[in-house]
């Protein structure tokens, strides 16, 4: 299967990566190179094989549904590129999302 430029642009949009017009062709060629190489997997019979989802134990450990963390807003906000509100900035700033 070969990706066309429209598909490359759609994937970039899904991945939230801005692709400049001049980057599309190269990205398309590289992705098609990788996908063409991966294509060999279609030849492997896998009927009835249970997919392996994780790297270790089949079932994950459960813990009690309790609060184990919190009360550290300053640490949470310490690396924010844009802090808004209050004196030192009490929340993350983003462009206006509701008109």
């Amino acid at each position: 299967m070969s990706l066309d430029t429209a598909t490359v642009r759609r994937i970039a949009s899904l991945a939230r990566i801005r692709l400049e017009e001049e980057e599309v062709g190269r990205m398309q060629a590289e992705l098609n190179g990788i996908l063409g190489w991966i294509e060999q997997l279609q030849a492997v019979p896998t009927d009835g094989v249970e997919p392996m989802a994780g790297g270790g134990a089949v079932s994950l450990r459960m813990r009690d549904d309790l609060v184990t963390d919190g009360g550290i807003p300053e640490k949470i906000l310490a690396n924010a590129p844009d802090r808004q509100g209050g004196e030192g900035g009490e929340y993350f700033g983003v462009p206006k999302v509701v008109e």
Binding site: R18, G33, I38, L41, T46, G55, G56, R61, A80
Partner: protein
């Protein structure tokens, strides 16, 4: 002897006997870093003042008779492990200003045991690469060079290229590293040192910048197998903060190094005899098997029939998980932000990620996004998960009749910095021998075993059963003893 030439175990003994202080040992390493790092670029951040303060505190603890198992030992930390209050970049522009307010479990375990951190070492961006050339902080140079071509600068391998180069050049006694498809074992082999990717779940992933969560595993690199065993003992252990952390006891790995291999059955997978592999690597492999037979092991040919599908399977699973993990880099909560004056939120995300990620990371996010997208999930991702199960089944079958598997660590010695850069798939082939252990969740150790004709180190790999690192260490130490690897790189501290 120059203090930077100690093995980690030797340094611990010298510290215990009062032959050297942690401050002296730390200062000797910092001097080496100051001299060689401008060329090697192994360290992104040198923590000189903090390291000396830690060393002074360590010497004081020792004087009071309270010494941890790694008391006063200077180490390098891969810049993928969050270190509280110290820049942690993952080799990426997008985390170029990130200072974590918390400490990863693995690095916290090392601090608990008395270690001194010299600094944060370079890596391929987000640990994606096999040459350490994708780092936003520049490539790392391998301290080794070809005897007949000393001017060609070689890659240290990747992604833990800074860890391996720093340890090989005597700029640390050991280092933390991580391995998603070979990122501990391949650079260890390229730099002539040892490194182990433990069983999935052995070391906590908490506080390690995530790449592919079902494959990522932390482990040590060091100049001897026993040094790796000592470090792994401190790094490993159950951590409730990582849901995949294994709640199993941590054995005395160093003791296992002395076990010997008498009576062990060593599997030799016939599918690892690759066409076009350098004859020297095949010969070294056979030599390694002979060393093990000489010490009382039996070698048997085995079959791992799905081996050739491991790399393409990995290049679906790992990018899929990466595309999900790296969705967190949004320019809002931490890290880089790029926006135009009139950017809406989506445009802010897209500009931030375009500016913050390098080409290899973007490619993998794109592949991952595609194979997880509606209509393609079953054909790619589900198919890969099924083949992953078959690869694991191959190992389960093999380990019914053998105790460990021995293979080459890499299909070549270290290559030049400008080689293999044109085609992503050519670069991916570096991990052909190592990636299977990640897919199956098994421990794999690289041990230096010899030199090629150009004087570059070559390694062998030992793969073991899940949570049987002890046998892996026993086999690795037996190879190490027989190989008696004493060669040293041209660029190193103390000369």
């Amino acid at each position: 002897m120059h203090p930077t030439d100690f093995s980690l175990r030797g340094a611990i003994e010298a510290l215990n006997e009062g032959l050297i202080s942690s401050v002296e040992l730390t200062r000797a390493h910092l001097d080496g870093i100051e001299k060689l790092n401008p060329r090697l670029n192994a360290y992104i951040t040198v923590m000189a003042e903090q390291a000396l303060a830690q060393a002074r505190a360590s010497d004081a603890r020792r004087a009071e008779g309270v010494a941890g198992p790694l008391e006063g030992v200077p180490l390098a930390i891969k810049d993928l492990f969050c270190t509280a209050g110290t820049l942690t970049t993952a080799g990426s522009r997008i985390l170029g200003n990130f200072v974590p307010p918390y400490e990863s479990t693995v690095s916290a375990n090392l601090l608990r045991d008395g270690a001194v951190f010299l600094g944060k070492v370079n890596l391929d961006e987000f640990a994606m690469g096999s040459s350490n050339t994708t780092s936003a902080f520049g490539p790392v140079e391998n301290p080794w060079s070809r005897a007949n071509d000393p001017d060609t600068r070689l890659v240290p391998g990747g992604s833990s290229g800074g860890s391996a180069a720093a340890v090989a050049a005597r700029l640390a006694l050991g280092a933390t590293a991580t391995d998603t498809g070979g990122s501990i074992r391949q650079p260890a082999a390229f730099c002539g040192i040892a490194g182990i990717k433990p069983t999935y779940g052995r070391c906590s992933r908490w506080g390690v910048v995530a790449f592919a969560s079902s494959l990522d595993q932390a482990g040590p690199v060091a100049r001897t197998v026993e040094d790796c065993a000592i470090l792994l003992k401190s790094m490993a252990g159950f951590d409730p903060k990582d849901s995949t952390s294994a709640d199993v006891p941590v054995p005395d790995f160093a003791a296992a190094c002395a076990r010997g291999v008498k009576g062990l059955r060593i599997g030799v997978p016939k599918e690892y005899r690759l066409e076009g592999m350098p004859a020297e690597i095949g010969a070294l492999w056979e030599q390694g098997l002979q060393w093990l037979r000489d010490q009382g092991a039996e070698t048997v040919e085995i079959s791992l029939p799905h081996t050739k599908y491991a790399l393409p399977t990995y290049y679906i699973v790992a990018p899929a998980e990466a595309s999900s993990n790296l969705a967190r880099y949004d320019g809002v909560r931490f890290g880089l932000r790029e926006a135009a004056k009139d950017s809406d939120l989506k445009d802010l995300y897209e500009r931030t990620r375009a500016a913050g990620f390098g080409p290899e990371v973007k490619r993998r996010i794109m592949i991952g996004t595609y194979v997880l997208s509606a209509g393609y999930y079953d054909a790619y991702y589900l198919k890969a998960q099924k083949i992953r199960a078959l690869i694991k089944r191959d190992f389960d079958d093999a380990f019914r009749t053998v105790d460990a598997i021995v293979t080459p660590a890499t299909p070549s010695a270290a290559f030049g910095m400008d080689e293999k850069q044109d085609d992503p798939v050519t670069m991916y082939l570096n991990d052909v021998f190592t990636v299977t252990a990640n897919l199956a969740g098994l421990p794999g150790l690289a041990v230096p075993a010899g030199l090629d004709r150009q004087g570059l180190p070559l390694g062998l790999q030992v793969i073991g059963r899940a949570f049987d690192e002890e046998t892996v260490f026993a086999v690795g130490a037996a190879i190490e003893t027989a190989a008696d690897f004493r060669a040293v790189p041209t660029l190193r501290a103390g000369v």
